[in-house]
């Protein structure tokens, strides 16, 4: 059989199928149509397929290709017609059909609080820089919150009005400054530096740690102040840690956090637990932005935890997590973080 003739037969078959399918109006008629064209024993396609055998060998590939196309097309037409007609006799679909007029069924997924997201981000970056995560109690004694951190009894930071001291049955009034009472009073920690002390008291050197968590200071709440907030504190103690390394670690951190090359600036400052002490700013988007406080661990702090300041040196830095978080997410009122409003919380879907 000549190729031309074969192809004409195929085209005629496809045309027939088209026009007779248009007249098919019931499922029964469609089944009849299906048997007539694609039936395994005596369907029209089957008959045409038999003609393939008498095609010239060199024309066989072309003929076979065209045959397959026509067969696929007819099967597709049958499937479409079945969809159109619906009903029991339609070929079984693999499950519920998509109703294209309806929106998707979206899973309801909760959100992680922006402060938690920030804390996790900080842990991840500092982890890459070799800092392990540590934590300590929020209710502290005077030793860890003040004394060991080189904050003497006459320091204003210890004032009862600047701290959340715990009320106890024994003392019926808050401890007063300079009253000479035994420093047994407990308080909510005012800084995460307390964890530094706890870690240096028991861990072997060298150390590279961060501690993150809630801290408490009596501040009247407003858009930028809240009496409870989060800090991240970093500490590195080793044989020859320098301020240049402090600056370099902070630059690596800021570059990681902000995702671009960032410069760091030190301004002199004063903290009892570091000497020298600096305020740290980073240069970002054309301005200097306050980052936090830092410095070299004060020799008195080392002595308080039994580390020889001649043999070891270290740096520490601390920063407010809320400020980083608010800047990142465009939050302008710190109080919104702690209102539990789901319209707020649901926006931090990441």
């Amino acid at each position: 059989m000549a190729l031309d003739q074969f192809l004409t037969t195929l085209d005629g078959l496809l045309e027939d199928a088209h026009s007779s399918l248009e007249r098919v109006g019931t499922a029964e008629a469609l089944e009849e149509f299906r048997v007539k064209y694609t039936g395994a024993k005596s369907g029209a396609l089957k008959s045409v397929q038999k003609m393939l055998g008498s095609i010239d060998v060199k024309d066989k590939p072309a003929a076979g290709k065209r045959f397959n196309q026509v067969r696929d097309r007819i099967e597709e037409l049958i499937a479409q017609a079945a969809l159109r007609l619906g009903g029991e006799s339609a070929p079984k679909s693999s499950g519920p059909l998509l109703d294209p007029t309806l929106p998707g069924l979206r899973p309801r997924i909760g959100t992680v609080h922006p402060i938690t997201q920030t804390l996790e981000h900080l842990k991840e970056i500092m982890g890459r820089l070799g800092f392990n995560v540590t934590e300590g109690p929020e209710i502290e004694d005077q030793w860890h919150n003040f004394v060991a951190l080189n904050i003497p009894e006459d320091h204003p930071a210890r004032d009862p009005l600047d701290n959340f001291y715990l009320a106890t049955a024994k003392s019926l009034s808050p401890p007063s400054t300079g009253s000479g009472e035994a420093p047994a009073e407990r308080l909510l920690r005012s800084q995460t530096s307390t964890v530094q002390i706890r870690v240096m008291e028991k861990e072997a050197l060298p150390l590279r740690i961060i501690s993150l968590g809630r801290v408490y200071r009596p501040d009247a709440p407003d858009a930028t102040h809240f009496p409870m907030f989060h800090q991240m504190e970093g500490l590195w103690v080793d044989r020859n840690v320098t301020m240049a390394q402090l600056k370099s670690v902070l630059r690596l951190f800021a570059t990681s956090y902000l995702g671009g090359d960032v410069n760091i600036r030190f301004r002199p400052s004063f903290f009892p637990f570091t000497e020298p002490s600096v305020e740290v700013d980073y240069w970002w988007n054309g301005q200097w932005i306050e980052f936090g406080g830092a410095g070299m661990v004060d020799p008195n702090v080392f002595q308080a935890v039994g580390i020889d300041p001649e043999a070891w040196s270290g740096f520490a830095f601390g920063l407010g997590v809320e400020r980083l978080c608010m800047r990142r997410f465009g939050i302008t009122d710190i109080r919104d973080l702690y209102r539990s409003d789901v319209r707020f919380l649901r926006q931090f879907a990441t």
């Binding site: 309801r108 992680v112 009005l161 320098t242 301020m243 370099s248 301004r267 004063f270 789901v342 919380l345």
Partner: protein
Amino acid sequence: MLISWEWLSDYVKLDLPTDQVVDRWAMSGLNHESTQWVEGVPVIDLEVTSNRADCLGHIGIAREAAVLYDIALTIPNPNLKTSSRSVHDVLTVENRFEQACPRYTARVIQGVKIGPSPEWLAKRLRAIGVRPNNNVVDATNYVMMECGQPLHAFDLAKVKSNKIIVRAAVDRENFQAIDHRSYVLDSQMVVIADAQRPLALGGVMGGLDSEVSDSTVDLLIESACFLPMAIRRTARKLKLHSPSSHRFERRIDPNGLDWASMRCCQLILELAGGELLDGLIDTHGEPTVAGPIQLRRHRVAQVLGIEVPWDRCGQILTKLGCKVDSQSDCMTVEAPSFRQDLTREADLIEEIARIHGYQKIPENASVPMVASSRRPKDTMMHSVRAIACGAGFNETLNPSLIGKSVLDRISPWGSQDPLTTWVPLLEGASCLRRSLIPSLIAARLHNQAQSNRDVRLFETANVYLPQGDRLPKEQFHLGCISESDPRVIRGVFEEIVQRVWGPEGPELQERLIDFDFSEKGSTVAWFYQDQMLAWVGSLSRAVATSSKIDGSVAIGELDLDLLLVWARSVPKLKALSPYPAMLRDLNFVVDEGLYWSALRATISDAAGPLCKEIAFQEIYRDTKRDGAGKKRVLLTLTLQSDSETLKSDQAEALVGSVIAACQSKHGATLLA
């Protein structure tokens, strides 16, 4: 600290734009707050850290500029003519309270004429926000703002018996200050008194009836040293803060008393005339001497990470007022008495660094790499948050302290009263929470007020459980609240336990539990030995109504510390059986009160190791057919062997023994 640029020029000649100098100051420790023009003069507000009392006067700030720009610092040298009469003839001072006032000095000027100050002086005071008063009071204020030493002038005629007594106040002693207010003192406060009454509250404020007035003729000029603790306490307690108390709280120069006194007398003699009596009354003649500090050359680079030329180090310290004896490897340094913050080598290195410039410290030093690892707790928390979020819960964070209300009594983890703080965290909130539920209920209320629907919240935070006299226990919890069926929270908890512990976790006991805040008979808790791991239930209608909550309130709490104890580090693969599994659906009619956990345990025991899974499908009630108090439980068993293809008679035998066990143990009957 407000600085008048014009005033500053008395001590240093700065032919530079103010902005430029202000930047240098900021980079060397004096933060710039603002610059304003007052009567045509720039007035600069600088933030002075609490260790730098020396910068609470114009001379201190000028010294910083002189060091930074390496220019000369000119300090006035008061040179006074005195009368032949001695101060000791007209005044005695007795110090009975050296613990608060280690040194008290006094001079006397007779025959002054009180009047207004000249314009140059009044203008300088106005520039820095000090209201001019009269020539004598202005002179004392001027010298304080010049050198940082507070001074006080008394009308000598008001000092009874010509005797000053420095003493502790008597408890509840009354004192009227020059602010025309009355203060009640206590015995830890220091007063400057005569034989009869307090004339001044030492270091804080003068008294009304000994203040200098238009009729004053003879003056007592006090220049004294009060200790920070005593002054801070007094100022705090009386809520009376003055420029004087501010300076004493930061420790003034104990050796600067005499200079300030002479400088003040010089000004008064110039402005108000009179005659200075010879001599000085001084209760403690010895100057304070600080010991020398050794600065080792190698330490500078060791701390800073950069080399600072050794002669530059010496130069900086000298310029700052130190006496420096420099050897090739070590320097002996005596800090000036106005820099009481310099006592150790580290302090000197900081001075060198801040003057040399922190911008010279590089930000690309090498940082050796070390490994760090994720804590099991962080791994656990990752799962906990993922599961809670996957169930549609939003994470919230709430303050750790709550107020007293019906809610603060919700304490499923212990019955001791909550710890409280003296100062509330927020209005009324002074109880450290013993459970996360009260905060979550408050959060729910907030959302209700905003008409936010279908609120599901979780929080992970510490609760604070009192332990009698011992340190309280801080326990890390997960708390959940939702409007849905409490089974959702239960399911979240079950999923968390299963994921975190894996199949090898310890066995838990399930118990009905009664809390006074939850619905009776519908609160379930899980225990590991005697320790509660978690509980889930519904808030009682009574509590919900009294807190004005609409809708149903499902709540639950889980002890994450206990969860962590058994957390597995990594899931370990159990080899898959190559043989086919058989599924068998069973539909039991059981008593209403039968727990799934009990039924499950029975099936598990009866079916043995060939039963790979016992899956709860659903519950159904048909009281017409099954009778009252019955329910139907549909479940599916997965039976599979690791060593052979199960034959159907083996499977039927297993199912048969399961049915028999359920019947004998629970009276369960199988529905055909």
